[in-house]
Amino acid sequence: MTAVITTSGLTKRFGRVTAVDGVDLQVTEGARFGLLGPNGSGKTTLIRMLLGLVHPTAGSMQLLGHAMPRGAAEALPQVGALVENPAAWGHLSGRANLRLLDAAGRGGRVRDRKARVDDALDRVGLGGVDRRPVRAYSLGMRQRLGIAAALLRSPRLLLLDEPSNGLDPRGINEMRELFTELNAAGTTVVLSSHLLAEVEALCTRVGLMDAGRLVLDADLDALRAPTGFVLLRTPDSARAVALLDGRLDGAPVAGSGGDPELRVRHADPGALNAELVAAGVRVTALSAQRRSLEQVVFELTGAGSDRVERARTDAEPVGAPPR
């Protein structure tokens, strides 16, 4: 597997604030990579550095095999990006915006421009958009337009910062299907988000940033390994407690579904089920407990930089969130 993104010791300081601190990251071709982290943890700055918008203070990086930012002219035509918010010339229509953006860079046949623009708009569900100026677009429409702009040149790598901003649940689902489809066709998808459910649903690998450092870089499946507990729901909780005495973790908890829930220390849900049923305990729900992404994230990260506590005597300087 070739790497589409490689960084080593990547560091960016804005004055006294270290936004990104010695990040070593590798993303392989064809991956669906989710970049997580609290607000102000350096996700956006990292993405901006990868795109050559922000120049690193130290360290090096390669994008699609080209050293950045020097190789921007070779690497960037194969990258589609959404950085922070979508942006467009407000006085022009969405279609005119994409045409001008397409014309601004080199490459691509002029004759195919209309087809390229129409195709990108169709993909994000804006195919029927009229001549209204972008100024009049809703937040969701702007977001879709931004994603269309990223798709314009059929990129090998999609770098998307918060792609679900402003979209409704159906829109988020649509975009997830679009990204999965593009990924199946060979596009590497890297997205940053603080919506854990979105990352959990889409990504195969996650990187977790906290205070500028990459504190975790692992496959999602490995993170969500079984915890060795089984969650059990039964109306016969008293008999179950008697039967499983010593293997229970805590008392039965009244669940929202009506039946109380028990946490049993057991590696194999199937064997546990057989044992319970043999003893005449009715089982309404049974599943191996997995660590949720949320638990992993909370264990490894602190509060985001948008939470500003009253200063204590030895408080470390609280910087403005690096954008």
Binding site: L51, A81, A87, H91, A104, G105
Partner: protein, 276 residues
Amino acid sequence: MIGVELRLMVRRRRVWLCWVLLCALPALIAVLLATTRLAPPPGRSGNFLSAVVTNGQLFPAAALALVLPVFLPITVAIVSGDAVAGEASSGVLRYLLVRPVGRLRLLTAKLISVAAYVLLAVLFVTVTSYIVGVAAFGFGPDASLGGGGGVASLSGVVLSPAELLLRTAATVGYLALCMLALGAVGLFFSTLTDSPLAAALGVLALVVTSAVLQPLDAANAIQPYLPTSHWLAWVDLYRDPILWDSVREGIGVQLGYVVVAFGAAWANFATKDITS
């Protein structure tokens, strides 16, 4: 990219508004003069204005003298100050840069679009004021007496319409260069900030500072290098024979401003962190 910038410019309502207002001010004055026939005495008010009433063909020169000190610089400041800062604040700048558009290429395209703006602004003012002037004041008494529409130059010698056209064209070119120098400074300021307003006001501050220093004897040493010093040199183009000295000096200084300001803009923008 140059084509994209030009297309963006002509589709901005603001740009058209600037052009229309620039043309409207001289037209308003023409109407007032034509209805009242009260020409200002020579030596007061704008250059040429006193001569206009007798010959409409001089009105373009009068119109340029009217918009030059304040209105033209204001619109140049607005348009050039917006060039980079406007797109930085809206966020389009980062999408252009990752498209990718090289930073030098982007800056060059912006300077060219500013140049196109000022050239068209001066040209529009000249053309509309010629039409308005001739319509309001006619070709002058010489025309009715069979003089062929000749115009008296500032030195008193009569210029033929063809010669006048040539001199007006030279004036348009010269003033466009003066305004481009200002535009290049605006472009530089525009790379320093994400606020188009701040960049535009910076340009106006420069114009005002220069205009304040210009008459001061204490500022004699730097006087030739002030941006506004040579703005009125084009008046010499209407003398016969033309006095080239101050025009030539003006061209040198204004070109210097373009080169230095664009160089500074490039030096700042080339390695700037785009965090907007």
